[in-house]
Symmetry: C2
Subunit: 144 residues, 2 copies
Protein backbone atom coordinates (compact mmCIF):
# COMPACT_ATOMS: atom_id res chain seq x y z
CA UNK A 1 0.00 0.00 0.00
CA UNK A 2 2.96 2.32 -0.73
CA UNK A 3 0.82 4.79 -2.70
CA UNK A 4 -1.39 5.63 0.31
CA UNK A 5 1.47 6.46 2.71
CA UNK A 6 2.04 10.08 3.72
CA UNK A 7 5.40 11.75 3.02
CA UNK A 8 6.60 11.12 6.57
CA UNK A 9 5.77 7.40 6.65
CA UNK A 10 7.21 7.08 3.15
CA UNK A 11 10.43 8.73 4.34
CA UNK A 12 10.71 6.33 7.26
CA UNK A 13 9.64 3.39 5.08
CA UNK A 14 6.91 2.39 7.46
CA UNK A 15 3.21 1.64 7.23
CA UNK A 16 1.02 4.77 7.39
CA UNK A 17 -1.67 4.08 10.01
CA UNK A 18 -5.26 5.29 9.39
CA UNK A 19 -4.92 7.91 12.15
CA UNK A 20 -1.38 9.00 11.23
CA UNK A 21 -0.78 12.40 12.86
CA UNK A 22 1.35 13.58 9.92
CA UNK A 23 -0.84 12.44 7.01
CA UNK A 24 -3.17 15.49 6.78
CA UNK A 25 -0.21 17.91 6.53
CA UNK A 26 2.45 15.98 4.64
CA UNK A 27 0.96 14.41 1.50
CA UNK A 28 3.09 11.91 -0.37
CA UNK A 29 3.24 14.10 -3.48
CA UNK A 30 5.12 16.87 -1.61
CA UNK A 31 8.08 15.19 0.13
CA UNK A 32 10.01 18.48 0.16
CA UNK A 33 7.63 19.99 2.71
CA UNK A 34 8.55 17.33 5.24
CA UNK A 35 12.22 17.51 4.29
CA UNK A 36 12.30 21.19 5.29
CA UNK A 37 10.89 20.73 8.78
CA UNK A 38 12.53 17.37 9.38
CA UNK A 39 15.96 18.85 8.84
CA UNK A 40 15.62 21.32 11.70
CA UNK A 41 12.94 20.01 14.03
CA UNK A 42 12.94 16.23 13.54
CA UNK A 43 9.84 14.07 13.13
CA UNK A 44 9.58 13.31 16.84
CA UNK A 45 9.46 16.99 17.87
CA UNK A 46 6.96 17.82 15.11
CA UNK A 47 4.77 14.97 16.29
CA UNK A 48 4.93 16.29 19.88
CA UNK A 49 4.05 19.82 18.75
CA UNK A 50 1.06 18.53 16.78
CA UNK A 51 -0.18 16.42 19.69
CA UNK A 52 -0.19 19.48 21.96
CA UNK A 53 -2.45 21.44 19.61
CA UNK A 54 -6.16 21.08 18.83
CA UNK A 55 -6.74 19.57 15.40
CA UNK A 56 -8.10 22.76 13.83
CA UNK A 57 -4.83 24.65 14.55
CA UNK A 58 -2.38 21.99 13.40
CA UNK A 59 -2.30 22.92 9.70
CA UNK A 60 -1.44 26.54 10.60
CA UNK A 61 1.29 25.37 12.97
CA UNK A 62 2.82 23.20 10.24
CA UNK A 63 2.72 26.10 7.77
CA UNK A 64 4.51 28.40 10.21
CA UNK A 65 7.11 25.70 10.98
CA UNK A 66 7.69 25.19 7.25
CA UNK A 67 8.12 28.93 6.83
CA UNK A 68 10.67 29.11 9.66
CA UNK A 69 12.49 26.05 8.31
CA UNK A 70 12.71 27.54 4.80
CA UNK A 71 14.11 30.76 6.26
CA UNK A 72 16.67 28.78 8.27
CA UNK A 73 17.63 26.88 5.11
CA UNK A 74 18.22 30.17 3.27
CA UNK A 75 19.92 31.85 6.22
CA UNK A 76 21.46 29.28 8.59
CA UNK A 77 22.67 31.96 11.00
CA UNK A 78 19.65 34.18 11.52
CA UNK A 79 16.72 32.29 9.95
CA UNK A 80 13.52 34.32 9.94
CA UNK A 81 14.90 36.54 12.73
CA UNK A 82 16.66 38.43 9.94
CA UNK A 83 13.28 39.26 8.42
CA UNK A 84 12.01 40.50 11.80
CA UNK A 85 15.10 42.66 12.18
CA UNK A 86 14.75 44.05 8.67
CA UNK A 87 11.04 44.80 9.11
CA UNK A 88 11.78 46.62 12.37
CA UNK A 89 14.29 48.81 10.51
CA UNK A 90 11.85 49.51 7.67
CA UNK A 91 9.08 50.33 10.12
CA UNK A 92 11.33 52.68 12.08
CA UNK A 93 12.31 54.43 8.85
CA UNK A 94 8.70 54.75 7.66
CA UNK A 95 7.57 56.12 11.01
CA UNK A 96 10.43 58.64 11.13
CA UNK A 97 9.58 59.75 7.61
CA UNK A 98 5.92 60.03 8.56
CA UNK A 99 6.76 62.22 11.55
CA UNK A 100 8.84 64.49 9.28
CA UNK A 101 6.09 64.85 6.68
CA UNK A 102 3.54 65.56 9.41
CA UNK A 103 5.79 68.34 10.70
CA UNK A 104 6.01 69.69 7.15
CA UNK A 105 2.23 69.66 6.89
CA UNK A 106 1.88 71.57 10.14
CA UNK A 107 4.28 74.20 8.81
CA UNK A 108 2.53 74.46 5.44
CA UNK A 109 -0.87 74.60 7.09
CA UNK A 110 0.38 77.56 9.10
CA UNK A 111 1.60 79.18 5.87
CA UNK A 112 -1.79 78.86 4.17
CA UNK A 113 -3.56 80.03 7.30
CA UNK A 114 -4.99 76.67 8.35
CA UNK A 115 -4.00 76.36 11.98
CA UNK A 116 -5.72 73.06 12.81
CA UNK A 117 -4.08 69.90 11.39
CA UNK A 118 -6.09 67.98 8.80
CA UNK A 119 -7.96 64.90 10.06
CA UNK A 120 -5.70 62.41 8.25
CA UNK A 121 -2.49 63.86 9.69
CA UNK A 122 -3.84 64.09 13.22
CA UNK A 123 -5.02 60.46 13.13
CA UNK A 124 -1.82 59.01 11.82
CA UNK A 125 0.44 59.19 14.87
CA UNK A 126 -2.29 57.72 17.05
CA UNK A 127 -2.62 54.84 14.62
CA UNK A 128 1.12 54.28 14.55
CA UNK A 129 1.47 54.23 18.31
CA UNK A 130 -1.62 52.19 19.03
CA UNK A 131 -0.58 48.90 17.41
CA UNK A 132 0.93 46.00 19.31
CA UNK A 133 2.19 42.74 17.86
CA UNK A 134 -1.01 40.81 18.52
CA UNK A 135 -3.45 40.08 15.76
CA UNK A 136 -7.16 40.26 16.31
CA UNK A 137 -7.86 37.73 13.63
CA UNK A 138 -5.37 34.90 13.64
CA UNK A 139 -6.75 33.49 10.40
CA UNK A 140 -5.45 36.55 8.57
CA UNK A 141 -1.86 35.74 9.42
CA UNK A 142 0.70 36.16 6.70
CA UNK A 143 2.98 33.28 5.84
CA UNK A 144 4.68 33.78 2.50
CA UNK B 1 33.95 16.87 37.28
CA UNK B 2 30.23 17.70 37.31
CA UNK B 3 30.79 21.42 37.90
CA UNK B 4 32.64 21.88 34.60
CA UNK B 5 29.97 20.30 32.41
CA UNK B 6 27.97 22.51 30.04
CA UNK B 7 24.17 22.65 30.33
CA UNK B 8 23.73 20.15 27.49
CA UNK B 9 26.11 17.52 28.89
CA UNK B 10 24.62 18.08 32.33
CA UNK B 11 21.14 17.50 30.90
CA UNK B 12 22.24 14.24 29.27
CA UNK B 13 24.29 13.26 32.36
CA UNK B 14 27.39 12.69 30.35
CA UNK B 15 31.00 13.81 30.48
CA UNK B 16 31.59 17.21 28.82
CA UNK B 17 34.55 16.76 26.46
CA UNK B 18 37.16 19.53 26.18
CA UNK B 19 36.02 20.35 22.64
CA UNK B 20 32.27 20.05 23.37
CA UNK B 21 30.41 21.81 20.52
CA UNK B 22 27.69 23.04 22.90
CA UNK B 23 29.85 24.30 25.79
CA UNK B 24 30.56 27.85 24.49
CA UNK B 25 26.83 28.57 24.00
CA UNK B 26 25.13 26.66 26.80
CA UNK B 27 26.81 27.37 30.13
CA UNK B 28 25.81 25.20 33.09
CA UNK B 29 24.41 28.19 34.97
CA UNK B 30 21.71 28.78 32.33
CA UNK B 31 19.97 25.43 31.77
CA UNK B 32 16.81 27.20 30.56
CA UNK B 33 18.53 28.39 27.40
CA UNK B 34 19.14 24.81 26.30
CA UNK B 35 15.68 23.75 27.47
CA UNK B 36 14.10 26.23 25.02
CA UNK B 37 15.91 25.03 21.92
CA UNK B 38 15.99 21.37 22.95
CA UNK B 39 12.23 21.27 23.18
CA UNK B 40 11.72 22.20 19.53
CA UNK B 41 14.93 21.35 17.69
CA UNK B 42 16.55 18.58 19.70
CA UNK B 43 20.22 18.37 20.65
CA UNK B 44 21.16 16.33 17.60
CA UNK B 45 19.76 18.89 15.13
CA UNK B 46 21.34 21.79 17.03
CA UNK B 47 24.69 20.00 16.91
CA UNK B 48 24.33 19.48 13.14
CA UNK B 49 23.44 23.15 12.60
CA UNK B 50 26.48 24.25 14.62
CA UNK B 51 28.81 21.90 12.75
CA UNK B 52 27.70 23.39 9.42
CA UNK B 53 28.61 26.93 10.50
CA UNK B 54 32.00 28.61 10.96
CA UNK B 55 32.84 29.07 14.64
CA UNK B 56 32.48 32.87 14.56
CA UNK B 57 28.82 32.63 13.48
CA UNK B 58 27.68 29.93 15.88
CA UNK B 59 26.82 32.18 18.84
CA UNK B 60 24.55 34.31 16.60
CA UNK B 61 22.87 31.18 15.22
CA UNK B 62 22.18 29.92 18.75
CA UNK B 63 20.74 33.30 19.76
CA UNK B 64 18.38 33.34 16.79
CA UNK B 65 17.33 29.72 17.47
CA UNK B 66 16.65 30.64 21.12
CA UNK B 67 14.57 33.58 19.98
CA UNK B 68 12.51 31.41 17.61
CA UNK B 69 12.10 28.75 20.30
CA UNK B 70 10.88 31.32 22.85
CA UNK B 71 8.38 32.65 20.33
CA UNK B 72 7.16 29.11 19.62
CA UNK B 73 6.81 28.50 23.35
CA UNK B 74 4.65 31.63 23.70
CA UNK B 75 2.70 30.97 20.51
CA UNK B 76 2.71 27.26 19.62
CA UNK B 77 0.69 27.84 16.42
CA UNK B 78 2.47 30.72 14.72
CA UNK B 79 5.74 31.16 16.62
CA UNK B 80 7.70 34.19 15.46
CA UNK B 81 5.80 34.18 12.15
CA UNK B 82 3.09 36.07 14.04
CA UNK B 83 5.60 38.86 14.70
CA UNK B 84 6.54 38.96 11.00
CA UNK B 85 2.87 39.16 10.05
CA UNK B 86 2.21 41.91 12.56
CA UNK B 87 5.24 43.94 11.45
CA UNK B 88 4.12 43.63 7.81
CA UNK B 89 0.73 45.06 8.77
CA UNK B 90 2.29 47.92 10.76
CA UNK B 91 4.67 48.70 7.91
CA UNK B 92 1.85 48.69 5.37
CA UNK B 93 -0.15 51.08 7.56
CA UNK B 94 2.82 53.43 8.08
CA UNK B 95 3.59 53.48 4.35
CA UNK B 96 -0.04 54.16 3.44
CA UNK B 97 -0.16 56.97 5.97
CA UNK B 98 3.10 58.34 4.59
CA UNK B 99 1.72 58.33 1.04
CA UNK B 100 -1.36 60.22 2.26
CA UNK B 101 0.66 62.87 4.07
CA UNK B 102 2.93 63.28 1.05
CA UNK B 103 -0.14 63.89 -1.09
CA UNK B 104 -1.30 66.48 1.44
CA UNK B 105 2.08 68.18 1.25
CA UNK B 106 1.90 68.34 -2.53
CA UNK B 107 -1.52 69.97 -2.26
CA UNK B 108 -0.43 72.43 0.39
CA UNK B 109 2.74 73.27 -1.53
CA UNK B 110 0.55 74.13 -4.51
CA UNK B 111 -1.59 76.34 -2.25
CA UNK B 112 1.42 78.30 -1.00
CA UNK B 113 2.84 78.58 -4.51
CA UNK B 114 5.66 76.06 -4.13
CA UNK B 115 5.23 73.78 -7.10
CA UNK B 116 8.27 71.52 -6.56
CA UNK B 117 8.03 69.02 -3.68
CA UNK B 118 10.40 69.58 -0.77
CA UNK B 119 13.56 67.39 -0.72
CA UNK B 120 12.44 65.35 2.29
CA UNK B 121 9.08 64.44 0.79
CA UNK B 122 10.51 63.55 -2.61
CA UNK B 123 13.16 61.30 -1.05
CA UNK B 124 10.82 59.41 1.21
CA UNK B 125 8.99 57.22 -1.29
CA UNK B 126 12.26 56.26 -2.91
CA UNK B 127 13.60 55.25 0.49
CA UNK B 128 10.50 53.24 1.29
CA UNK B 129 10.50 51.39 -2.00
CA UNK B 130 14.23 50.80 -2.17
CA UNK B 131 14.59 48.55 0.88
CA UNK B 132 14.70 44.78 0.65
CA UNK B 133 14.88 42.34 3.54
CA UNK B 134 18.65 41.97 3.43
CA UNK B 135 20.88 43.72 5.92
CA UNK B 136 24.17 45.25 4.92
CA UNK B 137 25.67 44.72 8.34
CA UNK B 138 24.68 41.39 9.82
CA UNK B 139 26.23 42.27 13.17
CA UNK B 140 23.52 44.90 13.70
CA UNK B 141 20.77 42.32 13.69
CA UNK B 142 18.03 42.68 16.23
CA UNK B 143 17.18 39.76 18.49
CA UNK B 144 15.12 40.82 21.50
Amino acid sequence: MTSTRCAVCKYFRRRCPPECIFAPYFPADNPQKFAYVHRFYGASNISKMLEELPVHLRAKAIESLCYEAKCRMQDPVYGCVRIISSLHQELHLAQSQLAKTQAEIALLNACVGVVEPTPSSSESLVQQNGIDHGLDNASDIWFY
